[in-house]
Symmetry: C2
Subunit: 434 residues, 2 copies
């Protein structure tokens, strides 16, 4: 019996948490800390952690749960209210990076920098660049006192839609990468999957309603369990019957669960599963894939150019979208800079490409450098484009409120739990005194 | 890339939950439903689920987390207040089943029923029979209105101590099973482990205090993460340096965490990790191990005799302990019947023996039948021994209160969460109205 996985997990949890807190002090998101943890533990530095079958399977499950949680956090009703500006910023912010990323891969391949490079790899590289991560922008804008402005709420709305559009792009590209399939067949299968998802959504919401009306409210555990079953089944069916990536199935399952009455409760139960086990394992697993020795001058240059492409393409794309919706001058640059950061989803898409054999292993290091680089540069960029501007009037938005509410919910429920425990203790000691 | 594990997990979660609810309706604990789920899915009936490397590793992790949670639920201060009666009932209730189980294995081996039977296997069988599971007794006594009696609180106290004594027995027996070790060396190593655990406990509690005093109370996630790291490290060190079972390390880590200020919060975060993933996988994995075709007449007889030994040994042992502490006549039988049920820990010990090669695979089916049989018979036995007796006066006990409090905590916190969400919604709509 092997028990070495215990030490592996302990090291992963300890180092991702520790470095996450450190990077947090420097205003960087926990993704950066977690990636660094994997890098430090992996062959690049200390070489105490290597990929085992168990860890890589756990990290695959982690991706499923991360996207399921992302889906649960996406309220489709809010999406509808995101407005024209949010939609156009997101659309241009997906198309331009996709095209520029593909073009960059093509040029690099032409220069002989990417041995064995294919057109599909280039398109996949473009897809990796589509997904914005908005958490760091939210932190910076809050610090600057600009979160409640028109620019701030447009960024939040666009980021929501960006997630969905980016995943649609992944669905199409990943399905195309399947062997010997035509574009028409792929599109038919994707449409069939969405029909299936709508039917599943109808059935799932009915099942929840039925359970809630028939339960005496005693045992709540059945709701998260049912939600997880829906997630796993949709992920499985997506792969098995429709050739769609399992993570898309998980995200759609999250959207379905988000529209059931118990959504917030279910979400709160998946958080510990995620941060106690699956997310750290996933990020550390990505960091372990970095091979510093292979980082020669050419790869370093490629990484820097990819980083530049990533940031410029979002600024151009999102800025263009903002311009089309009547934003002026600096505001367009502000929206663009706010959308420039990449995060979890970019890494998940890249990891997916790697395991499908579409992206080469050598591509992982530049992509990780791009994600870390974006996280470092975004706050600096944002402070630059907001410099010298008077603080705008606060702008009404339920999105910004919602973002804060979710963050504080755990804190509040912990306080309530504490109060409850104290109450009980007081009551029972009071009873004894009587 | 394989994604079949998604379907496996979905089937496990769905069937354990469904059968758990069904068995719950018949007043049986969820363990029985979960075991049945594994049995139905496994080769014994439907044969849609087989053990994969990932599932068995997950189930190993599940055992770690189950015992960690059990440790967190054991308050050492309550243990001290459990009184002489609780201690004697537990002690006799561990020794007698251990001896009778060993003797039964020895006799069965002599009759040629257990090919390849060794003395160590017999002692291990005795160890499997030591651990009481009290949840079903609590339910039945509550239904009978006898939980708040002297008998009820003695059973709860004894069950607490029984857990600890049973795990000490496992520690010694499992260490003895290590190759070529003498009893003296084993005992020295166990003592050293407990010294190590005390030092670790001192350091861990200091670390928690330091973190709590230095954190601005913003991010609470670090506490469960640190607790899990302690659990994993203690489990690893127990195996690696002291030859003690990893699950003992996890249990001790749970005891340590239980005495930190954030214990209840941490415990609440491990519950979803447990019931959403690890516990169902563990129980289903046990059920899958049952091979019905091999259940011939001889094995069936052996199973029934083992079940009888299990119940009788607890009634005799615990009854004796109760008698020594001044309980009279029927009360002794009541205490004995209340301690007769077995559960998770018996299965965990058996699984451990199997993976160490001490218990033979053929032993699993009888042990599972014993656990299920105890769960079915305990409520019947309890109703028999309490029949015709007038309801005794309620007895003061913080243990019974505590048991109920923990059960209701999730329910309460969910309600509070709901109220909080509603409050926020009302407040934000109110703000908009202003």
């Amino acid at each position: 019996m092997s028990y070495h996985y215990l030490l592996d997990l302990a090291l992963i949890l300890l180092s991702t948490k520790f470095l996450g807190i450190i990077t947090g002090k420097f205003q960087m998101p926990r993704v950066v800390g977690s990636l660094l943890a994997g890098l430090v533990l992996g062959p690049a530095v200390l070489n105490v952690l290597s990929e085992t079958a168990f860890l890589s399977q756990l990290s695959e499950m982690g991706v499923i749960v991360i996207l399921f949680t992302a889906g649960m956090g996406t309220d489709l009703r809010e999406l509808r209210g995101a407005g024209k500006a949010g939609f156009f910023v997101a659309l241009c912010g997906v198309l331009v990076p996709m095209v520029m990323g593909t073009g960059f891969g093509f040029l690099a391949g032409r220069c002989g920098w990417l041995p064995g490079n294919t057109m599909l790899e280039n398109v996949f590289l473009g897809t990796v660049l589509t997904a914005t991560s908005v958490s760091i922008t939210v932190e910076t804008l809050r610090e600057l006192g600009r979160l409640d402005t028109k620019v701030g709420s447009t960024i939040l709305a666009a980021a929501l839609i960006d997630d969905v559009l980016g995943l649609i792009a992944l669905t199409v590209v990943a399905s195309l990468a399947g062997e010997g399939t035509s574009l028409a067949l792929v599109l038919v299968k994707i449409v069939l999957f969405f029909v299936f998802a709508i039917v599943a959504s109808f059935l799932a919401i009915r099942a929840f309603r039925w359970m809630i009306s028939h339960a005496k409210g005693k045992n709540l555990r059945r709701y998260p369990v049912l939600a997880f079953v829906i997630c796993l089944l949709l992920a499985y069916c997506a792969e098995e019957f429709f050739g769609v990536a399992d993570i898309i199935g998980a995200f759609v399952a999250g959207l379905i669960v988000a529209s059931t009455p118990k959504a917030k409760y279910i979400q709160s139960k998946f958080e510990p599963l995620s941060y106690l086990l699956l997310t750290p394992v996933f990020f550390a697993g990505i960091g372990v894939k970095v091979e510093l020795p292979s980082l020669n001058g050419q790869l370093a240059l490629f990484s820097l150019l990819l980083l530049a492409t990533a940031i410029l393409s979002k600024i151009i794309g999102c800025g263009l979208g903002a311009r089309l919706c009547g934003f002026r001058g600096m505001e367009c640059a502000q929206v663009g800079a706010g959308m420039a950061c990449r995060g979890e989803v970019a890494l998940i898409v890249a990891n997916r490409g790697l395991s499908m054999g579409v992206l080469s292993q050598a591509m992982m290091t530049p992509i990780i450098i791009t994600v870390v680089g974006c996280a470092v540069l975004t706050p600096i960029l944002l402070k630059l484009v907001f410099r010298g501007q008077p603080e705008a009037a606060p702008h009404e938005s339920s999105l910004t409120d919602g973002y804060r509410a979710i963050e504080q919910l755990d804190l509040v429920s912990a306080q309530l739990l504490n109060r409850e425990i104290q109450d009980r203790a007081e009551r029972s000691s009071g009873e004894k005194g009587d």
